[in-house]
Amino acid sequence: MTKPPVLILGARSDIGKAVAHKFAALGHPVQLAARNAASLEADKTDMELRYRVAVSLHDFDALALDTHDAFVAALPELPRIAVCAVGLMGEQSENERDVAAAARVMRSNFEGPASILATLANRFEERGSGTIVGISSVAGDRGRATNYVYGSAKAGFTAFLSGLRNRLAKRGVHVVTVLPGFVATQMTEGMDLPAKLTAEPSELAEAIARAVERKKNVIYVRPIWRLIMLIIRTIPERIFKGMKI
């Protein structure tokens, strides 16, 4: 029995790659979407060799909103599962001063992902089935001085996913919100992250595959983050604003 295809948006990222490997290992054909997709040829060969599934490459630019309809229409088959791992952290200090840099972060984490997922969601709704997975961030749970530009965009994305889930709940389409804490990726390389709070991309991929299978709504990767964010959210604002966090 052949399994349904999985679309990975942002397939060059460490998380996107790990999720692609996980679903391919489970026997799903995967569609890898990224800018300059041809450069993922070696990854395609690798996955085909390892898992004996079909892997296809698709040029995709999250920020080119007017191309999103055509991108979805051109896919060889409408995927059953779509995972969005698109994101950009940038440098908070730069994001504070440079409006263009901040806008790029906001667009990459919110506008672009929301646009492509909206397009896919409508097609999934027409079909009456499908699962959408949005990788947001705990940074969106509360704005903090150290990364509120990124965090605010992720907050927007988290709210978007929540609304989408609400809208499609009775239409056979499921939406999973993934809230990773620290993940050891290229984005966080060089940061001094506490090992016990930091997940490997493969761990995230496992959690996502499980969440899709069990129709989870919101998952934190490494459960400790649920507690940490609960605490961070409940600190009263008059205390929070004076904290270095």
Binding site: A42, T45, D46, L49, R50, Q186, E189
Partner: protein, 441 residues
């Protein structure tokens, strides 16, 4: 970040790079004053640490091509042996040579020229390597093979990453009919009996012995000798033979914290060894064992290196020439038994012929022991080094974390040639590890 090998000793502060492309790797090679490649960190000591620049190959881990006619796999250096098994065992292929853990990278297996339980029959890892692509100090890639740049090939296999950054390689896999091993266990009451069992088992594909290194006197060298063959379908029940590559998924046991220092002492090890030997001696028959339990029993205990406590442990592994093996092993085991420093894992194995520039194995016997790092055991290790040298033996660099350059030179007359090769190709200043600096290689 703080970095150590699998033995968690020594721990060094090192800068770590994780390049995601050949170009990023090339930039590091040409710009860093010196560097060393690191695979999955399974060498026990400081072989894969350079405090200024350690280059992890974990992102360069793609499989490139597989030929189902010949079983040749071409893959990048960061691919794990376990990934190869996961991908190809269901298609009837298994690594030709495998060390005791599947968590090593292809690059690491080549650099250490690892050996497995079939060394007496098939040789070390190099026996299955068709060619290696390696990045030199100028950032250029060189292709080396036994029929091509044989000198580079020869010094890279067993060269501990000191001849460049291994990028990709072609290896040949072994066709197998099932995922199972037919294992025969024999109890040997002492060293002589254990060696006799090995000599009688030259035709077995796999052979290895667990040895009770606390046994003294008449019990010196008391062992369980385990032989293995790849099972064929006819060895299995009809039901099993329907799905010959299926094994039960195992529960992984994790070691969640460092054991306190007293957890492994001579009394607990002695008790364990006695029980283990008796249990093994009782079932001296043939049984079918799945590949994972047979080749990688310790992999089932994630983080088993923590049982030695926070200070880590040191491995000792030597190879002794055949004609001096019995005398050497007797002296080594007597010294260990006398010190009463129980090695929890003690392994004895017969090596076959080996001909290479700097690889560890030699025809004879190899003994592997490990000890928690304490002043007492470090002193014992010095004495074991001397006994090994006195009997014409040498040491496994992938396990070493503490010997001196003088010890290396006294044990291995090939060292000056290896050094000369490094010097003449501009490797010495560029490819360096904490180990190569300690050994003045």
């Amino acid at each position: 970040m703080k970095l150590s090998g699998w033995g968690r000793y020594p721990v060094l502060q090192a800068r770590v790079h994780r390049p995601r492309s050949l170009e990023a790797l090339r930039q590091l090679v040409v710009s860093e004053p010196s560097l060393i490649a690191r695979g999955n960190g399974r060498a026990y000591g400081d072989s894969a640490i350079n405090t200024a620049a350690t280059v992890e190959t974990r992102h360069l881990n793609r499989m490139i091509a597989f030929d189902p006619q010949t079983g040749q796999l071409i893959a990048e250096a960061g691919v794990l042996l376990g990934d190869i098994i996961t991908a190809f065992l269901p298609r009837g292929w298994f690594p030709m040579v495998s060390p005791g853990t599947k968590f090593v990278t292809l690059g690491g297996a080549i650099a250490a020229d690892v050996h497995g339980k079939n060394h007496h029959k098939d040789g070390s890892f190099r026996a299955c390597v068709d060619w290696v692509d390696i990045m030199g100090p100028d950032g250029e890639t060189r292709h080396c093979a036994p029929q091509g740049d044989a000198a580079l090939f020869d010094h890279t296999l067993g060269g501990m990453g000191l001849t460049g950054i291994i990028l990709r390689a072609a290896i040949r896999l072994r066709p197998v009919e099932t995922a199972w091993i037919r294992q025969t266990t024999m109890a040997a009451p002492n060293l002589k009996a254990a060696m006799a069992a090995f000599e009688a088992a030259q035709d077995s594909t796999y052979s290895v012995a667990w040895i009770d290194c606390l046994g003294a006197g008449a019990n010196l060298g008391r062992s369980l000798v385990m032989l293995g063959e790849h099972a064929v379908r006819a060895d299995m029940s009809l039901r099993q033979a329907q799905a010959p590559f299926r094994i039960k998924p195992k529960r992984k046991l994790g070691i969640p914290f460092d054991f306190p220092a007293f957890a492994l002492n001579s009394a607990t090890v002695r008790a364990f060894n006695a029980l283990y030997y008796r249990a093994g001696a009782k079932k001296t028959d043939t049984q079918l064992v799945d590949w994972d339990s047979y080749f990688y029993p310790l992999d089932a205990i994630l983080g088993w290196n923590r049982i030695y406590g926070r200070k880590g442990f040191a491995q000792f592994q030597c190879a002794l020439p055949l004609d001096r093996s019995e005398a050497g092993l007797t002296a080594l085991l007597s010294e260990v038994a006398k010190a009463g420093s129980g090695s929890f894992l003690a392994v004895l194995k017969r090596f076959g012929k080996q001909d290479s520039a700097f690889s560890f194995p030699m025809e004879g016997y190899t003994l592997a022991l490990d000890f928690p790092v304490t002043p007492k055991t470090l002193a014992l290790l010095e004495r074991l080094d001397q006994i090994t040298i006195d009997h014409g033996g040498r040491f496994y660099l992938a396990k070493d974390s503490r010997m001196t350059g003088a010890t290396l030179r006294a044990s291995d007359p090939r060292t000056p040639d290896f050094q000369a090769h490094r010097d003449s190709h501009g490797f010495t200043s560029r490819f360096r590890s904490a180990q190569s600096e300690r050994l003045a290689l």
